[in-house]
């Protein structure tokens, strides 16, 4: 493999393809007209769109299998799609390809309370799993902010996290097996009911592979017992540095919080305006530290957390005394994105991860960049696991502002890599961050990724152009970066 993407040879017209699909898929769900296809032109990252050749909504695994066989035969790109809530344009259609919507695979097939597992079709919504499991005192761990809408199939594709990752892990830690249709049209189960399987861990590679390796048609997830008690200790600080130190203080005490979130001053005010969450509005940084477990454990850890926060300079400390109060504290955090959406016509959400100890440095630098680019930025931060979500505020109607926003975003990601982090913690690379892959990986590493892809999908029909950049493209990007760097150096020397 030379690492270049296949492009649709298009040996077959839209009409001829559609005709073949209509043989075995309800013709109403073989969509070829532009008006009906329009909603599929993008995912949650609406700045990137493309119209597909056609859209399919199959209803059975056999249908998916037949679609794959036909697309494989003709070399037609296939972009699998769940709820379309992704934030990296991973489900953006391929112009000459098929969008394979799994929206009709929306059934919870089985919950086994004794084994603590659930068998799910890929279109089951994340939150629906926990709602259904609640009758057994169980829930599904990963809870991305989009959990009302996003689906488990998409969660597998992106290795989604959420606010409880430090303690309960990501999608990869919470699934047992997937049934998938390969690029060549075989149906296989990867993983089992056991906790591990013989051979290479293909399940790990599938998780987070952004639809480039196979089409997931069923997922078996692990369920966890719902903790007896959960309480949030909320602490305000007059500097980000102090809040960052307080995070370290908690961990050093041997406490692993269920959730540990940080917000900066802009995010605090925006979220509080939106949700009336009772946040300390004057604080420069806010920590939400959720402790969960048995009653005794929570009692013990809450007292320790309060004392650590006070000792490390918190200007305010409050602990939720009821479920309503806890829910309200989270509501502010969970509505941070729409809250920021209210104070700006548009916002662009970044997703870098950093080693936690660099948080103060990274946020300070980000402020400097914010001034240099003339764009505001609000920060919400999964402080427990180092995942940053800077929200860059911009106005898409102002010519050039989105381009400036993208450049600002790219600078943030570069900084994340420089301090030992990565360009994406949970949103995926998709189309959006494909250029930044060249910062995090060298050409040999990227080539190895292309080779991994080829092991699953030798002709490259699955979600082409996403996730891993063509090497030629990287060299261009790196040399552009280099020129910019040189230019900045010259400017600095002359200034």
């Amino acid at each position: 493999m030379n690492g270049s993407f296949m492009t649709n040879k298009l040996k077959v017209s839209q009409e001829k393809l559609a005709e073949q699909f209509r043989v075995f898929i309800d013709p109403d769900y073989v969509i070829t007209d532009n008006e009906t296809m329009k909603p599929y032109e993008c995912d949650g990252m609406s700045m990137y769109c493309e119209m597909p050749l056609l859209v399919l909504l199959p209803e059975t695994v056999t249908q998916v299998q037949r679609v794959m066989r036909i697309c494989h035969e003709y070399g037609v790109p296939v972009v699998a799609r769940g709820a379309g809530t992704g934030l990296s344009a991973g489900a953006m259609p391929s112009k000459e390809g098929v969008v394979l919507s799994l929206a009709k695979f929306n059934r919870i097939l089985n919950i086994d309370p004794l084994a603590r597992t659930a068998n799910l079709q890929p279109g089951v919504r994340n939150l629906a799993i926990s709602e259904e499991a609640a009758q057994y005192g169980l829930y599904y761990g990963p809870d991305p902010s989009s959990q009302i809408a996003c689906t488990i199939g998409g969660n597998v594709a992106e290795n989604s996290g959420g606010v409880h990752c430090l303690k309960y892990g990501l999608t990869v830690h919470n699934i047992l097996s997937v049934e998938m249709v390969t690029a060549e049209g075989d149906v296989v189960t990867v993983g089992s009911d056991g906790l591990d399987s013989c051979g290479m861990d293909l399940l790990a590679v599938m998780t987070g592979s952004e639809g480039l390796l196979g089409v997931v048609t069923e997922v078996k997830v692990k369920l966890l017992p719902k903790p007896e008690v959960a309480q949030v200790v909320m602490a305000g600080f007059d500097s980000v540095q102090k809040a960052g130190d307080a995070v370290g203080g908690i961990i050093s005490h041997g406490i692993i919080p269920g959730g540990l979130e940080m917000m900066d001053g802009h995010a605090i005010v925006a979220a509080d305006d939106f949700a009336n969450a009772g946040y300390p509005r004057e604080a420069k940084a806010l920590l939400l530290c959720e402790v969960d477990g048995t009653e005794e454990e929570v009692h013990e850890h809450v007292a320790q957390a309060e004392s650590v926060f006070r000792k490390l300079g918190a200007t305010s400390v409050r602990t939720s005394q009821s479920e309503q109060e806890r829910a309200l504290m989270w509501l502010g955090r969970k509505s941070a994105f729409p809250a920021v959406g209210r104070i700006s016509p548009d916002y662009y959400c970044m997703d870098g991860t950093i080693p936690r100890r660099h948080i103060a440095h990274v946020l300070t630098e980000m402020q400097t960049l914010s001034e240099a680019f003339g764009l505001r930025v609000a920060n919400v931060f999964h402080a427990g696991d180092g995942n940053l979500h800077p929200l860059i505020l911009f106005d898409a109607n102002v010519p050039g502002e989105f381009e400036r926003t993208e450049a600002f975003g790219a600078s943030i990601l570069k900084m994340c890599v420089e301090v030992g982090g990565c360009i994406t913690g949970e949103h995926g690379v998709g189309v959006e961050k494909i250029r930044q892959m060249a910062i995090q990986f060298n050409d040999l590493e990227l080539q190895q990724f292309h080779d991994v892809k080829a092991a699953f999908d030798p002709t490259g029909i699955l979600n082409p152009g996403k996730g891993v950049p063509a090497l030629k493209f990287c060299q261009e990007y790196r040399s552009l970066e280099y020129k910019q760097h040189k230019h900045e150096q010259t400017e600095a020397a002359h200034g």
Binding site: P113, L114, R116, Y136, L138, N159, C165, G169, H173, T182, D186, V188, S192, D193, G194, L195, D196, S197, C198, G199, M200, D201, L202, A204, V205, G208, P225, I251, S252, G254, I256, G293, T294, E296, E300, H301, T353, I354, P355, R356, H382, G384, D385, G386, N387, G420, C422, G425, E426, V429, Q440, F441, L444, Q448, F449, D451, V452, A454, A455, F456
Partner: protein
């Protein structure tokens, strides 16, 4: 404490030029696993490639060279009140972290604390072309590129030489105690799963010799309160008991030559009706069976229990010892091998005869 990655790289390149094969060996304590080693192949010795590269207790992350022994790692962690929560088995003082990952070995806490695979955040890997590559990183969340680090878990070194590993580490629990009760196996399978479904600080559950053992760990008050609610006798030597399970020093494992089979199955699944001795760990998800049998026969039983079986130790190791792969997955794994190690240098035939 030395970084030998350059020498290792040269050895791989040399093997490639000379069309030779290499058996990757760390502490040499897991030689009994997998199919028998290729006697024609040379040895790539990892045991001197040691040392902790980076450790920030507050980040809960440690980066180590692959030849570092588990004992050295655990000693460094213990100084900071931390530990490897997946409780890796020490099959000897020389057991290394690299071998632990390649064999995907985890101890009694695995269903609750995760496996070594779960705790891996990043690796450096020498592939068969002698390229030294870096995947993943030192952060908990990282979805850039495929998860090549976790792909290594269970690959038995067939994809490349793991040279460096970044791992998530966790605080040592403040308190721990073990409860024991007499119980028949079938009842115990149900009991262990029912207890696991409760929101209590359970961190190990096994059954052997007509007794079920449960371990509770965490905040002292929580452990004590749970022990009071759950019936069973507190045993004095709880720690020693679990250590013997972790390191397979329990007397059940004493005969090192007899075939020992490992079933990885659905935790509450009905146990296969097979004569012979059983040790049930991981609340039923990992079951050890002592007895003479054919792999293909046991595969049928393992599948019925939702999982797989392997011939973990002993017996004839010239044939297959791992649960067979369906054709489509076999093809993917062969292509994967080809992509990492095109000349088939590393651990030839160790995982499957066809790899």
């Amino acid at each position: 404490m030395a970084d030998l990655s350059q020498q290792l790289q040269e050895q791989v390149l040399q093997a490639r030029t000379r069309a030779e094969k290499l058996n990757i060996v760390g502490g040499g304590t897991k030689g009994f696993m997998g199919r028998e080693a290729n006697t024609q192949a040379g040895t790539l010795d990892m045991s001197e490639h040691t040392g902790i590269v980076d450790y920030h207790p507050v980040e809960l992350v440690m980066t180590v060279r692959a030849g570092t022994t588990l004992s050295d790692i655990e000693a460094a962690l213990a100084e900071q009140g931390q530990a490897l929560h997946f409780e890796p088995p020490h099959f000897g003082p020389g057991s290394t972290i690299g071998g632990t990952l390649a064999c995907n070995l985890s101890g009694p806490a695995r269903p609750w604390a995760g496996s070594v695979r779960d705790q891996v955040l990043g690796t450096r890997l020498l592939n068969g072309k002698g390229e030294h590559l870096r995947f993943g990183g030192e952060v908990m969340k990282n979805v850039a590129g495929y998860d090549v680090s976790r792909l290594q878990a269970g690959a038995l070194g067939t994809l490349g030489v793991i040279t460096e590993i970044s791992l998530k580490v966790m605080p040592t629990p403040a308190a721990s105690l073990t409860l024991v009760r007499d119980m028949a196996m079938d009842e115990a399978l149900h009991y262990m799963n029912r207890r696991t479904a409760e929101p209590k600080p359970i961190t190990a559950a096994c059954w052997v010799d007509g007794k079920v053992y449960l371990r509770l760990s965490g905040a002292k008050t929580a452990v004590e309160a749970t022990a009071e609610q759950w019936s069973g006798d507190v045993i004095e030597q709880g720690e020693a008991f679990w250590r013997s399970v972790q390191d397979m020093q329990h007397e059940f494992f004493a005969d090192k030559n007899a075939p020992l089979w490992r079933f990885s199955v659905g935790s509450p699944a009905t146990n296969p009706a097979l004569g012979g001795d059983w040790f049930i760990d991981w609340a039923g998800a990992q079951r050890w069976y002592k007895g003479t049998a054919e792999l293909s026969d046991l595969e049928v039983l393992a599948r019925a229990a939702g999982g797989q079986v392997s011939q973990f130790r002993g017996g004839d190791r010239s044939g297959e010892v791992m649960h067979s792969q369906p054709n489509a997955l076999k093809t993917i794994q062969q292509r994967m091998k080809e992509s990492f190690d095109p000349d088939g240098i590393f651990n030839p035939g160790r995982l499957y005869s066809w790899m």
